[in-house]
């Protein structure tokens, strides 16, 4: 219990009986929120940018660097908006990316390797976790979603490539296969066959114009950063929209059925009330 905690509890006027309830509620909400952030982040990323994250021979210099930040910042922004607006908690982005990484590794072990015998080297995932940490940090410092969108989303898009290149560079060393030069990643993709992925189906870079020297990766990273800004604002908006707590008015019959009419139908309902109350 730090000094700040005591100040918050005093301001919130919770009696000593209520404080343990409040702490229990904290833990329950953490569990529910964790499950939900984990599920929504994973299903959203899985079907919007999953393929580039599944296979090592999809991690090219054009689409992988562009698509992964874009398809993960959307849920990071939405959850950031929810927890910030409701509780001033800047953990939405980090929680989304951390749980996505955890879920991804679980599936890589249990399903890709466990069920279909694919080696882990074929299915190593990348992560935007460092970008998410920067997003949350800038939200704390600026306390404004405008500035976070401008600086945080740009760094989010820019950081993905270098943060993952640190451990992916080894896969792009040249190696000989059947007399042709290829990359270690291509060789892994070729060696371990996938029935649903013929080579031509890969949506990867098929050639550059060298308009930027030999650094097409940074062109993709900057384009990704640029798109991330707009997606951040759009999905921060969706997060705010999701926080509207509207109740629709309900007809009398609905209230009658739900025993909410009170006195008027009390007599007809009273008899029923004698039955065992809600044994939740």
């Amino acid at each position: 219990m730090t000094e700040n905690d005591r100040a918050i509890l005093k301001v919130s006027e919770l009696s000593s009986r209520a404080i343990p309830w409040s702490r229990t509620l904290d833990v329950l909400i953490i569990v529910v929120a964790a499950f939900l952030v984990w599920s929504v982040s994973h299903i959203s990323f899985l079907l919007l940018g999953g393929d580039w994250d599944f296979f090592i021979d999809w991690k090219d210099r054009q689409y992988w660097i562009l698509i992964i930040p874009i398809t993960t910042i959307i849920m990071a922004a939405s959850f950031q908006a929810i927890f910030w607006n409701l509780f001033r908690l800047p953990v939405g982005a980090t929680a989304s990316l951390l749980l996505l990484l955890l879920g991804t590794w679980i599936v890589r072990y249990h399903s890709w390797q466990g069920l279909a015998y694919f080696p882990l080297s074929l299915v190593v995932p990348g992560t935007c976790l460092m970008g998410a940490l920067v997003l949350d940090a800038i939200l704390v410092l600026s306390r404004s979603w405008l500035v976070t969108g401008m600086f945080g989303a740009v760094l989010y898009g820019l950081l993905f490539y270098p943060a993952n290149w640190i451990y992916m560079a080894g896969y792009f060393q040249p190696v000989m296969n059947m007399g042709d030069m290829t990359s270690v990643a291509d060789l892994i993709g070729y060696t371990f066959p996938r029935a649903g992925t013929p080579e031509y189906i890969r949506i990867i870079e098929r050639g550059t114009l060298r308009t930027f020297g030999d650094t097409p990766t940074w062109v993709s990273a900057f384009f990704s950063a640029f798109v991330c800004i707009f997606l951040y604002y759009m999905f921060w908006g969706l997060g705010v929209l999701a926080c509207n707590a509207r109740f629709f008015p309900v007809g009398e019959r609905f209230k009658l059925i739900y025993g909410n009419k009170g006195k008027a139908a009390g007599k007809a309902v009273g008899a029923a009330a004698a039955q065992p109350g809600a044994a939740s």
Binding site: L25, V134, V140, Y167, M181, V184
Partner: protein
């Protein structure tokens, strides 16, 4: 009975009925077709015809090799519904990575990438070398994936892999001299260590926030306008520190990595072209006059007009389509054409019935009735070409001359279902 209770029962009943109907509709989904058998018949009979396919062995240990070799012919009557083989990839249909690809060639050109512009009507030899990785009994087929038509599956053969999966090793040496002892685990530990570090940072950040009174206290504090309590000056310091730490770690790590792996190549995404086998002048002209499928009799009847343009007498030895082979058992050279390693269940039990199996003299033109009878038409679900969008059939005829030389010819055309077998049985 008060209105209240009566409506209640009706409401409960309606829920019950809705649930039951939902359950039954889902259950009555048709039991669907099978793996390679699910491919449309027009693709299996009129696109790629695999022949002379051999498997080097039926039983291999982990790390041992098995070679699948053969040829495939691209049918001239290519169906409109499937796009032409402009872009294709030679693959294999074994479940997951139970067997690994070592080498694959199409007409001696390495087939790691996709192949462009295969020519319709021509033949291509292929070779695939696979290695055993996971013990078990696996069905190994050659497959030609054609862009826009999907996988076209060749004949499948059971291969037994023995030993233990742990013995599988795949050492590789890169052109920059780095020796990789096993490609299966290469780089994985490095990824995991770095991502564990990132995750540790993230967990610390989250715990830093959720360790304090969280939901209702902060909710009340916001209602009272005391937001200043919620984000303290130390939080600013922690956030600024985190921002700098993340950027420094990433920039430093990236710089170290670009120096360590100076020579890197992007993913190889080109495709290759390969020449077909030389065009053999077809010495036997074949034209389909009529094709019927006797539904109850499970037999395909083709009336074919054959013109022998060679100098040697010709005999029809085999009719093959959709990986099924119907042999004229009386012709030894035809029977010898079946490689011992060829799966028995793809060779029809009953012989190919010909209206006149005497050799066709050079220059002679003869209309022959060919009858291929086998339950495989049903088991392989090929009969749906009767109920298909364009009910045509296609296949290959193998003729053998006096010296045993084989001459191939395509036969294709519309097909009509008939029910004669039943009438025959009833008539006598």
């Amino acid at each position: 009975m008060s209105l209240h209770r009566m409506s209640l029962r009706r409401f409960g009943l309606s829920i019950l009925l809705a649930a039951m109907t939902a359950a039954t509709t889902l259950v009555s989904l048709p039991a669907a077709a099978h793996g390679e058998r699910a491919t449309e018949p027009y693709i299996r009979t009129r696109t790629v015809h695999w022949y002379d396919v051999t498997w080097s062995s039926e039983k291999i240990g982990v790390n041992d090799k098995v070679t699948v070799e053969g040829k495939f012919h691209l049918f001239t009557d290519w169906p409109d519904a499937a796009s032409k083989p402009e872009l294709a990839f030679l693959s294999n249909a074994s479940p997951g990575a139970v067997m690994t690809r070592v080498e694959s060639y199409i007409n001696d050109m390495p087939a790691q990438q996709s192949v462009r512009q295969l020519e319709i009507g021509r033949d291509y030899p292929f070779k695939m070398v696979m290695a055993g990785r996971v013990p078990g009994r696996w069905h190994l087929h050659p497959v030609l994936n054609v862009h826009g038509a999907g996988p076209i599956v060749g004949p499948g053969h059971w291969v037994e892999v023995t030993g233990s999966a742990a013995d599988y090793k795949l050492p590789v040496t890169t052109m920059t001299g780095e020796v990789i002892d096993d490609l299966q685990h290469y780089g994985v530990a490095r990824v995991q260590w770095w991502q564990a570090g990132y995750a540790l940072l993230a967990v610390a950040w989250i715990v830093w926030w959720i360790r304090r009174p969280l939901i209702v206290p902060r909710w009340n504090a916001i209602r009272k306008g005391r937001e200043d309590l919620l984000i303290t000056r130390t939080d600013d310091r922690v956030a600024a520190g985190l921002l700098v730490l993340v950027l420094v770690v990433v920039i430093g790590g990236y710089r170290y990595t670009t120096q360590k792996y100076e020579y890197v190549v992007p993913l190889q995404a080109g495709s290759f072209k390969t020449k077909p086998l030389p065009q053999v002048p077809s010495l036997v002209a074949v034209e389909m006059k009529d094709a019927t499928y006797d539904v109850p009799g499970r037999s395909l009847r083709l009336d074919v007009e054959i013109t022998n343009q060679s100098e040697s007498p010709m005999r029809l030895g085999e009719f093959t389509t959709a990986n099924l082979r119907f042999l004229d058992k009386s012709l030894d050279v035809a029977v010898a054409g079946v490689d011992p390693s060829f799966p028995k269940d793809l060779v029809a039990g009953s012989s190919l019935k010909l209206s006149d199996s005497s050799p066709i003299a050079p220059g002679e033109k003869r209309t022959l009735r060919i009858e291929a009878t086998d339950a495989a038409w049903e088991i392989e679900r090929l009969v749906s070409f009767l109920t298909n969008v364009d009910s045509r059939v296609g296949g290959m005829l193998f003729f053998f001359d006096a010296k045993g030389q084989r001459h191939m010819a395509e036969v294709f055309g519309p097909i009509v279902p008939v029910f004669t077998q039943l009438q025959l049985a009833q008539s006598h």
